[in-house]
């Protein structure tokens, strides 16, 4: 949901006063770029601003379609309602814990796996790659997975969320490509100086891989932050849910009345802006992480693409 804006850093900075004189064509190109990219920014930002505005607006203003990018009938009731619920904070804490633990484990495992399969001289490398890639196309399906996790006794524990999704094959392949790009000579030199495999990884490769690690961190963190399905499958107690499940349920509650129209007992009274409030509350924290990893991110995503 917040992916493309960064590309607005796209055009190369013009070096005024240097060797190149700006031609007319270049000026036009630049002006066009600015306009086009501003357009992209507007298109990307507009729905987001609208959601924020709606989250602060009154029901009636939303229902009568008067809310645009500025709140109408300023109101915090839904925020209060959500945030006054102790369960919301419990679940928010869960999300943070799940995300941190899962991301840490995922990073360690992905890095190790990718490093191994990036070594061309390794025997059986293609099998290891094959095993990973196989899972991109085939999986056991929902029920066998559930039976597996349950039989392993992971149900209702952190591990049910953290372990099954610890390695994303896509991320693994991106990292593999990055490691393959690292000059082999560096590692050979380290080897001659007497470093073993693990210390080479730790002392030489990892420090040189900050960009890709930051990118992976972001990919993993965002996906774990947004994920709700694993928790929904493997958790039976509301105090174990991440906040995404909580908010998803809340949205469903506000639309029950019309979809079933049945039991009066199910009447939902949550106001019209619950959906926007939800989005703001879940997106904001992870959005705050972006600026810090963005400089790695831009170079990071390019990495895998250069050399196949």
């Amino acid at each position: 949901m917040v992916t493309t804006v960064e590309t607005s850093a796209g055009p190369l900075p013009a070096r005024t006063g240097s060797l190149l004189r700006e031609t007319r064509g270049y000026k036009v190109f630049r002006a066009f770029n600015v306009v086009a990219l501003l357009g992209v920014v507007a298109v990307t930002l507009y729905p987001f601003l609208m959601i924020i505005a709606r989250s602060f607006s009154s029901d009636t203003a939303i229902r009568s379609g008067r809310v645009n990018i500025w709140p109408v009938g300023f109101n915090l009731t839904t925020y209060q309602l959500v945030m006054n619920d102790a369960m919301f904070w419990t679940n928010y804490k869960n999300t943070v814990v799940y995300t941190v633990v899962a991301t840490a484990i995922a990073l360690v495992l992905t890095t190790c796996y990718a490093y191994v399969i990036s070594k061309h001289q390794l025997r059986g490398r293609s099998v290891l790659i094959g095993i990973a890639v196989f899972t991109m196309f085939f999986n056991g399906g929902l029920i066998p997975n559930y039976v597996l996790i349950t039989s392993l006794g992971l149900k209702n524990s952190l591990w049910a969320i953290v372990l099954p999704n610890a390695i994303s094959v896509f991320n693994l392949l991106v990292m593999k490509a990055f490691f393959e790009n690292l000059p082999l000579e560096l590692e050979e030199a380290a080897q001659i100086d007497g470093l073993g495999t693990y210390r080479i990884l730790w002392k030489i490769v990892i420090p040189l891989s900050k960009a890709v690690i930051a990118t992976m961190l972001l990919f993993y963190a965002v996906s774990f932050w947004n994920s709700w399905f694993a928790a929904f499958l493997y958790m039976d107690k509301s105090e174990l849910f991440p906040v995404t499940v909580y908010l998803r349920n809340l949205i469903a509650g506000s639309s029950t009345a019309q979809s079933t129209g049945a039991a009066a007992a199910d009447v939902a009274q949550v106001s019209a802006n619950i959906q926007s409030v939800t989005m703001v509350l879940t997106v904001l924290p992870i959005l705050c992480v972006y600026p810090f990893v963005q400089r790695y991110f831009v170079s990071g995503v390019m990495l895998g693409s250069v050399k196949g």
Partner: protein, 546 residues
Amino acid sequence: MSQRTRARGLAAAAALALALTACSGGSDGDEDGAALDNRTGAMEDYAAGDQFTATEPLTFSMLFSDHPNYPSQDDWLLWSEITERTNVTLDPTLVPMSDYEQKRSLLIGAGDAPSIIAKTYPGQEDAFVSSGAILAVSDYVDLMPNYQKKVADWGLEANIDQLRQADGKYYVLPGLHEAPWQDYTIAMRTDVLDELGLATPTSWDEFRTTLEAIKEARPGEYPFSDRFSETYPGGNLLNMAALGFGTSAGWGYNNATWDGDAEEFVATAAMPEYKEMVEYFHDLVADGLMDPESFTQDDDSAIQKFVTGKSVAIGTNAQTVVNEYEPGLATNDPDATVAKIPFPCGPVGCVLNPVTQTENGIMINADAADSPNFVAMMQFIDWLYYSDEGQEFTKWGVEGTTFDKAADGTRTLAADVDYVGLNPGAPKHLQKDFGFAGGNFAYGGATELLWSTFSDAEVAFQESIADYDMIDLAPPAPLDEAESEQLTLIDTTLRDAVSQGTIQFILGQRDLSEWDAFVADLESKGATQYVDVVNGARDRYVADNG
């Protein structure tokens, strides 16, 4: 209906997995209930009207749909009072309501479902039947005296028959209503009616003349702009109208409709009644009485038109009047008043659908039949869900704590307890703080109990339709697996073609002179084949089960 379709995909997947995995287990539930030796904790002479109390402490697991507006709390009076009265502790597996059906399919498919599976709409059990994972409850209803009494007293045998599968058994214990419950109808601006000196319409014909009069007084606007088209164009409107016109459409559309006179199923869209209904709405749109966007706009747009006074009629249920129209109108036009009109009568008369007498109920895990306390569990379910005391308890709570009962039977909430706005501002809430009146336990019941929490306006609406006739229920025609697969292939195509054609004819995008071509096209899409299969299943069922 919409819930059912949504769940169908996953349910089918689960059923497939079950067919593969569950061949080994499963009890054949043919034993005679009374002869079972699994009577641990059961009462010897349990009869209708008795308080069920297990003879020793028991615990039953239960799948519980957790509502976001009143999430389950361990300290709910509901839980402790159930134990107090019945010596049974319920152990709920909490599932967020948003995805309840998906998790239910998963748990049943994985063989991990709790014994009591609440909140199952009739029809949703179909996907699980062939796997043997769900108990054929019809074999054990002799353990449930209150249930049997309600079915007999309220004349629900035909409703129950509709639940029967090809083996003549049924697998879901439905919630039972004493009388049909019609919630949806049309809401109109009563102040506008008064201002123009118009009477409240009671039939589709009167509705049309009323709209004509309004249109005359306020040309330029569409007096009727409908909603509930988000999941199915005209889902609610056509569903309602189909009753009075003697067919089925909208949310309630079925490719085969039971024709009571001919004693067979007929292709719905080929019925003359169906065409008549389409013509009626075609004329409304053509004459500018009904907003053509009624079939495409989202609910918010329709609400907006209504609360800003652009339209004066809109589809509704009891909640939308109170939660959406009245507050919206109050800010835009403080003098505006809105009310439900009596459910409109049609050419076939003033009728309701008795199918609403059964609603969501419970399934039971087939493994439970092997449990030593199976009989006690059936007695417990019977008491909690089907006895008068149990139904009052799950809805109103505990007398003296959450409500008081006058000598004439009128219940009033305790002063410090609120529910559906009956005691606004009270510090506690019947659902949130006590757990009563929630969707997992409180369904169905006597009309008196159902109406006990209605507002005066809603009771007036219910009274206005109390003497309506009921249409014939379709008799059971359970399909076997091959037939069901065959019909699934035709069903969606046919359904979409009918829905699309219907809307095109109503909106005038297709001329009504093309109706015969439309019906012929449906024919080529398998309309007759569909009906033949259903009729065949019906004949087979009659031959097998009488």
